[in-house]
Symmetry: C2
Subunit: 313 residues, 2 copies
């Protein structure tokens, strides 16, 4: 792993992804007391950064692997990402989705001609069905977050952010399965002088926070959080990177996530999903860390079920 590897990844995924805009807001800078640069992956193809990792994973396959197809499991954005990346690259897909996945995400996967296999809503059920398909179809399994090619791909968002803003003091990302933050760590290591990476995580699914404390991968007994993209846990590929490079993880409550989300919708007029709001909520929660600093925030995605929003009176 070195800078050239990551640069090559960026070069090869570029034609298939959007180089998303970086937005700033005077009002939000006032509120945080820092200069905040939002890398808007909600404007990415299919609406989330996952497009980057999925594309890179498919581009790393041999022709034979592409023909036999790929299998993955995801409740949402990674399913859409694999479906669209596979459509762009002509790869067959088997996408295992839990029966309780949001309808809007299932619809989107189908719009991208992804081949959905519905399963029960447990981590074990997903993995078992994916494994069965892998064996039967000789398909290549691509994990949504615990796969080095996926991690490298996710890191390209931070590369673009650092290309435009090379002097960032921090990049803050949400932490779910760990792919985005691990990729961001590698980008910060090789494409900045001294940019630190901090994670935001829901208090109600704080497995990564506890994993950094205990030094081994921890799990969540329950995942009662609106940040549906962050209910997963770390893996053996991304945890070593996270353990070595992540400065720390800031945990936020559900009301803090909703407040942060509403603030961005209202002030910036952009649609971000609750998982993205977790990173910004971390800034709001620990302003002292960020005062007067230059802070990049990765807005991970904008796929929200508009008929089921958390903004109650």
């Amino acid at each position: 792993m070195n800078k050239e590897t990551l640069q090559q990844v960026h070069n090869r995924v570029k034609p298939y992804i959007h180089s998303t805009p970086i937005l700033t807001s005077y009002l939000i800078n006032e509120i945080v007391g820092a200069s905040v640069y939002f890398k808007c992956e909600n404007f990415q193809k299919m609406g989330a950064f996952k497009m980057r990792g999925a594309t890179n994973a498919l581009l790393s396959l041999s022709d034979e692997q592409k023909e036999k197809g790929v299998v993955t499991h995801s409740s949402g954005n990674f399913a859409q990402a694999i479906a669209l990346a596979a459509k762009q690259l002509g790869v067959k897909t088997y996408i295992v989705m839990p029966e309780n996945a949001p309808q809007s995400k299932k619809d989107a996967v189908e719009a991208y001609e992804g081949n959905i296999i519905v399963c029960e809503s447990t981590a074990i059920a997903r993995e078992q069905i994916a494994e069965k398909i892998r064996k039967e179809k000789k398909a290549t399994f691509i994990h949504p977050s615990n796969d080095l090619e996926v991690i490298f791909g996710q890191g390209t968002a931070a590369i673009e952010l650092l290309e435009e803003e090379p002097n960032l003091d921090y990049i803050v990302t949400p932490v779910g399965g760990g792919g985005l933050i691990a990729g961001t760590c590698l980008a910060a290591k090789y494409f900045s002088e001294n940019c630190k990476v901090i994670g935001g995580e829901p208090m109600n699914a704080d497995d990564a926070y506890r994993s950094l404390k205990s030094g081994k991968i921890e799990y969540n007994d329950t995942v009662n959080t609106i940040a549906d993209g962050l209910r997963t846990f770390l893996g053996d590929q991304n945890f070593p990177i996270i353990k070595e490079h992540v400065e720390r993880i800031i945990r936020v409550e559900e009301d803090e996530i909703i407040h942060a989300m509403k603030l961005i919708w209202e002030r910036m007029k952009i649609i971000i999903e609750p998982s993205s709001a977790v990173a910004f909520a971390a800034l709001l929660k620990e302003k002292d860390t960020f005062t007067t600093k230059k802070v990049g925030v990765i807005i991970s995605g904008g796929n929200v079920d508009l008929v089921n929003l958390p903004f109650a009176r």
Copy 2:
């Protein structure tokens, strides 16, 4: 009135406004069958194009007028625009708002230190109270749409659009009080070769459509539309411009407005208000007019009450 006048207006408002981005969407171009350029005034300061006209109107005042202050009436965006423009330029304000104005808009006016006077929710009540204040305080009345300086200011959005996309065949704007579309007509006349201007209007508040038919200013008996910015009517300053230059007005139903709004939220991940969706709904309604054309759409604003959205299951 000539090109130089408009250019001077643009030059003098520029330091006080955002030069908003122009966004495109592959998916939306596919749906419409045209190349659509969205001029995103939802990203304008205070969240709407009204900032342009309000700023220009205040910049045209004498020092004495600035000191005595300005009075206006508005249920929403123009109230915010005058408040913020006046704050930037150090002008005293008297802002008459109907008691049923959305709370989010009243809060925003107060956040910009605007001086609100609440009145009954009728057009007559608004005007009477504004007139009373004008006399008592010797303040200058600024109409939200029927004022030439306001109209010229609103036209600067289309100037910026045509600077970036000089070969537009059409610009489509929503039609409320007529300030935006009149200003857009002047911009199209002086800053393009042959760009036509089309209006979008709610069927349930189609006064401008009927005014163009009858040749005189018509009014609405009822204004039962979600597009709360478009419930007003034309005036003697903007109607002559509209009558001379507007190609035609396309009327859209309430469900078409909501569908258009949802499409932009979901596909483009930006927050637009129902009034803005009316212009895009007009494109969707009469696709034949726009097929293969280059079409600019002015996204007039993004100020939405997030706790009261129209996206029902």
